[in-house]
């Protein structure tokens, strides 16, 4: 359940690599040595680790097309744990090295194998692996923020805080907690002595007016092919995020999700560890099952005792019968001209009130756009500065007919070549939709303000909200080959 060492590395696409922080846990190493016996492989010095790790992650020697050590097809990296092949006098394989990479940062650690070293135990039998993953993810969020972006100064100051942070969350190699994001919430006081034990995940107590904020966000993804041989795909997943400012050491709050009468059940529900109890019926519906119609469809009750900071109470997926926007995209190539024809239909069940709605039509592996003779029935058309992208801004509303069209011709006669993409060649092209609809969910799921129960003396203020967001919402040109095989039909 411990890790032997921890490394934090920054790089720019494999260049300017440096270890920004490292920590070896000598007592865990001591245990590793005893556990592994003659199979023991010591952790090499920083530079060696760095080199091996980059090679294993395919980031070393980025200017060389083929490096045997890096590109051997036998090294199948399909597990979260990497093998570092240590050379030299301390020869051997360092395993299982966990590494997560986001933007310019790579975080890696080496969990302790608390099982006989040979034959190599399955990853699934080592609790230290999931513990290591959790620690790394926590550190990543701490360093990069929840948004995953941070300037170099911010990163440097966070890195400087790490020694103090690790003293709290992983003093001797055994992860105890993940670092707290930012300063603790305001209006907290230290715990008074009492009989009720304070949860270890709660840094203090809230004092003041009780406020409960419940935000429901649904995300819809879609792949539409406009082709009979290929089934269009879409899925919806939702998250419920809470911020609760409630007095008491272990206050009780219950949030209830409800569906409309004919709504399809929420599936794949995952809950935050602060949820105190769960009804087994809530968990039964699963997206990988055949939907039998008799499944439980709410209300979904989540009793919990909230931590101080905002948290994701639960998440779910839902199978909705239709995608919110149905599109068709057709391209025809004529000499150096491309005929474009697009139709987008907003489904009647979707509220016609967007925060934003844009359709992006990128063109790859061609010259820059020259003459763009394209008419839209509604909204505004823009050409990106780089002249390889049409941006169709639909604004806050579709017209009454709920249908918009685009028709016209584009010539590609620009002086320089546009961007390339190995996926989108010839007529393989797509439209990507970006939209956000406030105050609605596709599944119909909602949190009624009155259904939020807080067991405390003062009457709390309760705020609820919901929204629908698009993500990876693609409409492929139906006259080209979409980069998915027809096997997808089986779905």
């Amino acid at each position: 359940m411990s890790v032997r060492a921890l490394w934090i590395i920054s790089h720019e696409k494999g260049e300017n690599v440096s270890i920004r922080f490292s920590r070896r846990f000598s007592t865990v190493e001591h245990r590793a040595k005893r556990l592994a016996g003659s199979w023991y492989v010591a952790v090499p010095e920083e530079n060696t680790v760095l080199q091996l790790l980059l090679t294993e992650m395919g980031l070393s020697d980025s200017n060389k097309p083929y490096v045997a050590l890096r590109d051997d097809c036998l090294h199948c990296q399909r597990s979260p744990a990497l093998e570092l092949r240590v050379d030299g006098p301390a020869k051997g394989v360092l395993w299982p090295v966990l590494a997560i990479s986001q933007g310019p940062l790579i975080l890696a650690c080496l969990p302790l194998v608390d099982a006989p070293a040979e034959p190599r135990p399955p990853l699934a039998s080592l609790l230290s692996v999931s513990q290591g993953l959790t620690l790394l993810a926590g550190l990543q969020t701490f360093l990069l923020g929840a948004g995953g972006k941070l300037d170099s100064e911010g990163l440097a100051s966070r890195l400087a805080m790490l020694p103090a942070v690790l003293l709290q969350v992983c003093p001797l190699g055994t992860p105890l907690d993940v670092p707290l994001l930012g300063a603790p919430a305001t209006n907290t006081v230290p715990t008074p002595a009492g009989s009720q034990k304070q949860p270890a995940w709660k840094t203090g107590l809230h004092r003041g007016r009780a406020v409960v904020n419940v935000a429901l966000a649904e995300t819809v993804r879609s792949m539409q092919y406009g082709n009979r041989s290929r089934q269009d795909l879409w899925d919806v997943f939702g998250t419920v995020t809470c911020k609760c400012e409630v007095e008491g050491v272990l206050p009780n709050v219950t949030v209830t999700l409800t569906l409309p009468p004919n709504g399809s059940p929420l599936q794949d529900i995952l809950v935050h560890p602060c949820v105190t109890s769960l009804d087994s019926t809530i968990l039964t519906a699963s997206s990988v099952d055949n939907y039998d119609g008799s499944a439980f469809s709410g209300p979904y009750k989540f009793p919990f005792s909230p931590p101080l900071e905002p948290f994701r109470l639960c998440s779910y997926t839902s199978q909705v019968p239709v995608p919110p926007i149905l599109g068709s995209y057709q391209l025809r190539e004529e000499e150096n001209q491309l005929h474009v024809s697009v139709t987008l239909k907003l489904h009647e069940s979707v509220k016609n009130s967007f925060e934003y709605c844009e359709a992006h039509l990128p063109f790859f592996n061609r010259d820059q756009m020259g003459v763009v003779d394209v008419k839209v029935s509604f909204g505004q058309l823009d050409i990106s500065k780089e002249k390889n992208l049409l941006v169709w801004a639909l604004g806050q509303k579709f017209p009454k007919s709920r249908e918009v069209t685009m028709e016209g011709k584009i010539t590609f006669s620009g002086p320089t070549a546009g961007p390339t993409d190995p996926l989108c060649t010839d007529l393989t092209a797509y439209i990507k939709l970006y939209f956000k609809v406030p105050d609605m969910t596709l599944s119909g799921c909602c949190v009624d303000q009155h259904s939020v129960q807080v067991y405390s003396s003062a009457k709390p203020r309760i705020v609820t909200s919901r929204e629908l967001l698009s993500k990876e919402y693609f409409i492929w040109n139906s006259t080209g080959t979409a980069p998915v095989s027809s096997g997808q039909m089986m779905l």
């Binding site: 999931s130 003293l167 190995p422 089986m490």
Partner: protein, 960 residues
């Protein structure tokens, strides 16, 4: 100063070995400790100073005793810490734990570790911070962490404190109860484990431990603790696969005390952070597994909460629980649910890629209630994973590489089981189509990552479905077309062929692929061939030529059509690399089994290269191959060239001289001089040689005695002797015999060494520079080669030589190594006086007298200011003296040993122009060594030499 420390500490942790090459661990440790005691240093710097002790305690404290001393020092620093410096105190506790654990002070129950344990327990029990002193509370938390680590590293250390720890946990209402809970659980787990190892342990022992008597002193606990420390099994998780056995403690159904502790821990587990909760549940799972008296149902209340969790650690714990308890806790429905859950999580949009990969791994190692076979760590599909269920995990081109490969692997297993005909093989068809989509992306200029992923996917696919010819053949075709348009993929394709050949030994797919590649290369129109393509084609054809089963005629006609047309720019350009690649193909053809049928076209090509190629080096090598081909029998040719292709596999090619230039990839390593890590061989003084020479000298003396032709008078002899030195080269060198031998450590790479070139460098200016010496070879199992070191002294003083060597190993690599220093002792410079060869003993005696008179005369004339006389006395018996003279001075003796003379006269010449004369005589009280020399600077050396040999003689005789 602070900046300085920050830099030094970070330099140390970057590379302790490099840092310590500039100082010693001892000195650095002393520096750290001094600075830690310094009141002027800030505490933020002091925290920094502790990190080397935390991270590399064994580097700084190489022995237990140093660890013990360091710990005592640190504890005294702790005692003097002002109460406000909590952070520093916490780090100090961590450093102490690291030092004491890693230097084995804890496991040997040293004094310091005992004191430290008392200190920790004292801090852990000090609840005076109850009213809100958060800072002090963090010290208490750290103390608990340290205790937990001590217990983890020395299981059983705290087993007598269980009651105390339980009480502390129950009374604590602040967040700190988590630390106590973790500590208590671990101690309990270890204590129970130890009981399972003791024969006859039963419920009463368990009860005694739970109600542990804290008054029992540490000393009493030592036995059990120490015993178990030798066995690392207690450190391992007891939850094993379906076939593992768990040590058990028979308690009968009634273990109320244990149950109540477990219930209380489980009840509060919700209050712990997910990481600590997972650890706690895992420890408790182990514990319940070891005590059959407690039913696993004790966990039931927690299960739903755990099964619905979004935390990877908590779900993982649940899986481990399932592994430990199977159907005694999980019903068949639970099992189906968990598996579905894993499938969902393996592709959940909100989870990170590593988490999803981990869940996929969990599916392939799913702890089934009733496993069919003993999987023993291999990946197997759970029975419940139907193709329908697995559909959620089909790979797509939008997946990242690792996810795609993991999904491909999982689905391949599913469809392999389903068989080619299940569902009309649609699943397999899908996978193949997916592979084709990837291939199209590669074709359209996919990034390096996609290319690599594609080839990995191909290998993975083949490893499962190589036997399905419909797909494997079609794949061959597609890969050939891909190669033709993207020749830069040559190394990937070669690698794929190599690996499929190694991995799928029963399949001939790789040969088929290579043959097909040969086909497309040789049939493609030459007109469009660029030089770059050609060089890749040649690489490919070289690999094809390694396959004995593939006919090579097309390769030869391709080579011939590339080089022979008079317009061929290739030969005119004389590109060395291309020529090298051409030769690479030819070289492999020379050892091809069908060489007989290739003989003439191959000879034509080689001859053409010999005559026409625009690079001399290539021409020479072509000529070499040509003459090998035309003059040697097939067997000889094969044995000459084949070894580097067959032995050692493809990865480690041997580089013989004939191949060094035709092996493009190995060239760099063959041309680089590698550095050995340790000394490989050394020069040892050859022992036997001088004695033999002494013997023969004496004989020649005897022979010459009769035909003596030497000056009778001392001054005449001296004159004649001196004239020889007019030539400055006369007798100016000494030759020392050495042997070159391997050092002890065995590294088989260095068993056979060739072309060793020894290089020497001086450490002072007493000698002229030495020239390099070459030794043809050094084999571990053959007699050591002799090496004659020729030294030309400027002053005959003892010295030390540095030596290094460059040599070649049998695999053709060149190495540089440093030899241990060679020490030249004073007596190694001794030579008999270089008297003219016709002189006999009498002449030398005259010379001795002449020199002696000159040196000891009071009238110090112009040239003789360097002369000196001295006396050395020692206690030696008569016999011992004779032995000594025989042993050390025989070659230099001018008086006769056999004659009944009571004085020995020794004349030693020290090149270039010095002498040492000795008159050795036994007096009543002692043996007197009268010394005369013409170089007074030698006196200290003479003195210490005499001291050495006489005391040795003493010792030797003492033994007799």
């Amino acid at each position: 100063m602070a900046v300085n420390w920050a830099e030094r500490i970070s330099a140390f942790s970057r590379s302790p070995s490099r840092f310590l090459s500039g100082t010693t661990a001892e000195a650095f440790l002393a520096e750290l400790l001094r600075e830690l005691r310094d009141d002027r240093a800030s505490y933020s710097v002091k925290v920094l100073l502790l990190s080397p002790l935390c991270e590399h305690p064994t580097v700084l404290c190489p022995s237990d005793s140093v660890g013990e001393e360091t710990a005592l020092e640190l504890m005294s620093v702790f005692a003097q810490c002002p109460p406000k410096t909590v952070q520093f105190c916490c780090h100090l506790l961590l450093a102490l734990t690291s030092v004491l654990v890693c230097t084995s002070c804890v496991s040997s129950r040293s004094r310091a570790s005992q004191d430290f344990l008392d200190l920790l327990l004292q801090i852990a029990q000090d609840t005076s911070d109850l009213h809100g002193d958060a800072a002090h509370r963090s010290l208490r938390a750290t103390a608990c962490d340290c205790l937990q680590e001590l217990e983890a590293c020395s299981p059983g250390l705290l087993s007598q404190r269980l009651e105390l720890l339980g009480g502390l946990r129950q009374r604590e209402s602040s967040r700190l109860h988590q630390s106590y809970a973790g500590l208590q659980t671990l101690v309990l787990r270890n204590a129970v484990y130890q009981l399972t190892q003791e024969t006859g342990a039963g419920p009463e022992h368990l009860k005694a431990i739970l109600g542990g008597n804290t008054s029992v002193a540490w000393e009493a606990e030592q036995d059990s603790g120490l015993m178990n420390n030798k066995d690392s099994a207690i450190l391992s998780s007891v939850i094993l696969g379906p076939m593992g056995t768990v040590p058990t403690l028979q308690t009968g159904p009634d273990c109320k005390e244990l149950r109540s502790v477990l219930s209380s821990l489980l009840e509060e587990s919700y209050l712990l952070t997910p990481l600590c909760q997972a650890a706690l549940l895992n420890r408790l799972t182990e514990l319940v597994a070891m005590v059959p008296g407690v039913p696993p149902a004790i966990f039931r209340a927690q299960l739903l909460r755990l099964l619905g969790t979004s935390e990877v650690g908590l779900l993982h714990t649940t899986l481990l629980m399932k592994c430990a308890f199977t159907d005694s806790l999980f019903s068949a429905e639970d099992e189906a649910f968990i598996l579905k859950r894993l499938v969902v999580l393996s592709q959940h949009p909100l989870l990170s890629t590593p988490e999803k990969l981990f869940y996929m791994d969990c599916i392939l190692h799913f702890p089934e209630n009733r496993p069919i076979g003993c999987s023993d760590g291999d990946e197997t599909l759970p029975v419940l994973l139907t193709p329908q269920l697995a559909l959620a995990l089909v790979p797509t081109v939008f997946n990242d590489s690792a996810t795609m490969l993991a999904r491909l692997n999982l689905l391949s297993l599913v469809y392999l089981e389903e068989g080619e005909d299940g569902e009309e093989g649609r699943g397999l068809a899908y996978l193949y189509e997916h592979l084709t989509s990837l291939l199209h992306i590669v074709e359209n200029g996919g990034s390096r990552e996609i290319v690599v992923t594609f080839f990995r996917a191909v290998l993975l696919f083949l490893s499962y479905f190589c036997h399905v010819e419909r797909y494997s053949n079609s794949l061959t075709e597609k890969l050939c077309q891909l190669y033709l348009h993207h020749t830069y993929l040559a190394p990937h394709l070669i690698n794929l062929a190599d690996q499929t050949q190694d991995k799928l030994t029963e399949s001939s797919w790789a040969v088929g692929l290579l043959k097909a590649l040969q086909g497309v290369i040789t049939e493609a129109p030459l007109a469009q061939l660029t030089l770059q393509d050609l060089s890749r084609h040649l690489k490919m054809l070289a690999r094809v030529a390694e396959e004995g089963e593939i006919p090579q005629h097309t390769t030869l006609s391709f080579l011939s059509s590339v080089i022979t047309p008079s317009s061929s720019s290739l030969c005119v350009s004389g590109d060395w690399r291309l020529g090298n690649s051409l030769l690479g193909v030819c070289r492999r053809l020379l050892v091809h089994p069908s060489l007989d049928s290739l003989l003439i076209p191959l000879a034509d090509i080689l001859q053409h290269l010999t005559c026409r190629y625009g690079d001399t080096d290539i021409m020479d090598h072509a000529r070499l191959y040509y003459s090998l081909l035309t003059t040697l029998s097939r067997e000889k040719l094969a044995s000459m060239l084949a070894q580097d292709l067959t032995e050692g596999g493809r990865q480690v090619k041997r580089r013989t001289l004939s191949s060094i230039m035709a092996e493009g990839e190995g060239l760099t390593s063959a041309l680089t001089i590698h550095q050995t890590e340790k000394a490989i061989f050394r020069l040892m003084k050859a022992q036997s040689e001088p004695r033999e020479r002494t013997q023969s000298d004496r004989e020649s003396d005897l022979n010459q005695n009769e035909t003596e032709n030497s000056p009778g008078e001392a001054n005449v002899a001296l004159e004649a002797y001196r004239t020889q030195f007019h030539d400055p080269r006369f007798a100016s060198e000494i030759t020392l015999n050495h042997q070159l031998t391997h050092v002890e450590a065995v590294d088989s790479r260095f068993d056979q060494l060739f072309s060793i070139c020894l290089h020497f460098s001086l450490t002072d200016d007493h000698y002229d520079d030495l020239s390099d010496i070459s030794v043809p070879c050094l084999f571990r199992d053959r007699p050591c080669p002799k090496v004659k070191l020729t030294l030309k002294p400027r002053r005959p003083h003892p010295t030390t030589l540095h030596a290094s060597a460059i040599f070649t190993t049998h695999d053709g690599l060149s190495w540089h190594t440093v030899l241990p220093d060679i020490h030249i002792a004073f007596q190694q410079v001794f030579m008999p006086p270089p008297t003219p060869p016709t002189w006999g003993r009498g002449g030398r005696l005259s010379l001795f007298e002449g020199l002696w008179d000159e040196m000891s005369s009071d009238s110090r004339e112009k040239d003789l200011t360097d002369c000196a006389t001295s006396l050395f006395c020692c206690q030696l018996k008569e016999a011992a003296l004779i032995t000594l003279v025989e042993k050390h001075f025989l070659p230099y003796l001018v008086s006769d040993l056999s004659e009944d003379d009571d004085e020995f006269k020794v004349l030693v010449f020290l090149p270039p122009q010095s002498h040492m004369l000795l008159k050795i005589r036994s007096e009543e009280d002692a043996v007197h060594f009268n010394i005369a020399t013409d170089n007074w600077q030698l006196l200290p050396h003479i003195n210490s030499y005499l001291l050495t040999i006489t005391s040795c003689q003493d010792a030797a005789l003492g033994h007799l």
